[in-house]
Amino acid sequence: MKIIEQSIEDLILGGNINWIYLYLDLEIPLVILKINYKELERKNLLKDLARFEEVANNTKIILKNEIDVTDALRALWSRFGRDKVEQIGRLEILARNIDINEIKEIRIREKEIDISERIIELINRILPEGFRVRHTIKEGDTLIVIASEDPIKEEWIRKAHEIKVEE
């Protein structure tokens, strides 16, 4: 449990994962991992990713998702310098004496973040290393991974589908 929590934290996936279900039977051996996550909206402009509060000459930028914080800070620092931009909270950035319209138009990254790459990395970190025979199914927003040392059996796939998680 601790490993899963820590891996989600390391990969900054906290805001994107709704739930994770792990079934483990070492004597078979079999692991079924179900991850329900939401895809990132493909937006790169700061005005689409945050809300803004004006306080005197300063602007407080409150980002909606933690995944954007590092890119937003990097973009703001390179444009306005470190003297004028400061991170004041987990999701909050303070910009001093900068025109709010200029801030809103900042593009924080050139490419969209591919969340699936991070989800795959998370799966690799959670699953035991020796379970190298894998079968993956995408069911709506849920990704199901069945892993074992032996060839995957039909009954395991059926079992994976049967597992219901109350949301």
Partner: protein
């Protein structure tokens, strides 16, 4: 028998301590000066401990016993993947180094899984070049007890295993330390640091036991003396960039110089009136092409 000690104190008058150690037939194994502090690894005859302590009190320094000084330990992980590195394997190795050991991390090519886990002959021989092997295994009791013992069954050096289950009885190992297992963040809480210290202390006891056993049939010369002579007679070794270019082991030395180029020079070195080749086996290490020296016991010449 020699006693291995770490000295921590100021640089002021620390030469006096080195002089004392040399006078009583001891050895300075390693010296690090950090700012105004000096940390030294020393080996002294057991019976001189009280006299050394008096001098250390006079110099306002501190000493602690560190039986892991002069040992080379293999920290073995089932693979070199994210599952094992940097945590917990590097944390454990770092703590061992704090206790004076020289550590090498070895990741097996196919040590993971249940039925697929195995160790190759080359890996086994590489591990056997060390004094003690520490296998860092995972969280599941079923996997460790049923499948992992084949990794260390045929290894001839002392084996210690760590894993998550609190207690486990494993065949052919010198000890099992539970409560470690897999973790993915740095071991920084008091509980975890205490656990790392427990591992280092346990390995220290094994090193001490092995030295006591060897004391019944001691080596013809102390490895610390051979180390000192290599550093004196082969000055090229002082220019090697690898850490600890002359690594002390319980029954020998690892010299981090190319075997083909230096084997003859090392073999013909004179130590206490004898050539090194007459009192030791000199072989090529499986690690890079380093030189491995295994000193022979006195009974070999009886």
């Amino acid at each position: 028998m020699l006693k291995y000690i770490v000295f921590e104190g100021g640089t002021y008058k620390h030469e006096k301590l080195i002089e004392f150690v040399e006078d009583i037939g001891g050895y300075l194994i390693q010296k690090n000066i950090v700012g105004l502090d000096v940390i030294m690894h020393l080996a002294i005859p057991e019976e001189e401990f009280d006299n050394l302590n008096k001098l250390v009190i006079e110099l306002k320094g501190k000493i602690r016993e560190a039986p892991l000084i002069g040992t080379e330990i293999a920290v073995v992980a089932p693979s070199l993947s994210r599952h094992h590195l940097p945590h917990p394997v590097c944390d454990i190795a770092e703590n061992l180094r704090r206790h004076g050991a020289k550590t090498n991390i070895i990741g097996l090519a196919r040590g993971v899984g249940q039925k697929i886990a195995h160790i190759t002959k080359e890996e086994r021989l590489l591990i056997e070049e060390h004094d003690i092997a520490l296998f860092v295994l995972g969280n599941f009791e079923y996997c460790i007890s049923k499948f992992k013992s084949k990794l260390f069954n045929d290894i001839s050096i002392p084996i210690v295993v760590t894993g998550k289950p609190d207690k486990l009885i494993l065949p052919n190992v010198n000890g099992y330390i539970g409560g470690v297992g897999r973790f993915s963040e740095r071991a920084r809480t008091m509980d975890m640091i205490n656990k790392l210290n427990e591992i280092s202390e346990f390995l220290g006891k094994i090193a001490e036991k092995r030295r006591r056993e060897m004391d019944l049939d001691p080596l013809i010369v102390e490895p610390a003396l051979v180390k000192k002579e290599i550093e004196r007679q082969i000055p090229e070794v002082n220019e090697v960039l690898s850490p600890n270019p002359v690594t002390l082991k319980i029954d020998g030395i690892r010299v981090k110089l190319p075997y083909n180029e230096y084997k003859d020079k090392i073999a013909s070195m004179e130590i206490e009136g004898k050539k090194l080749i007459e009192i030791a086996n000199i072989n090529k290490s499986l690690m890079r092409d380093y030189i491995l020296i295994k000193i022979l016991p006195e009974s070999f010449f009886a």
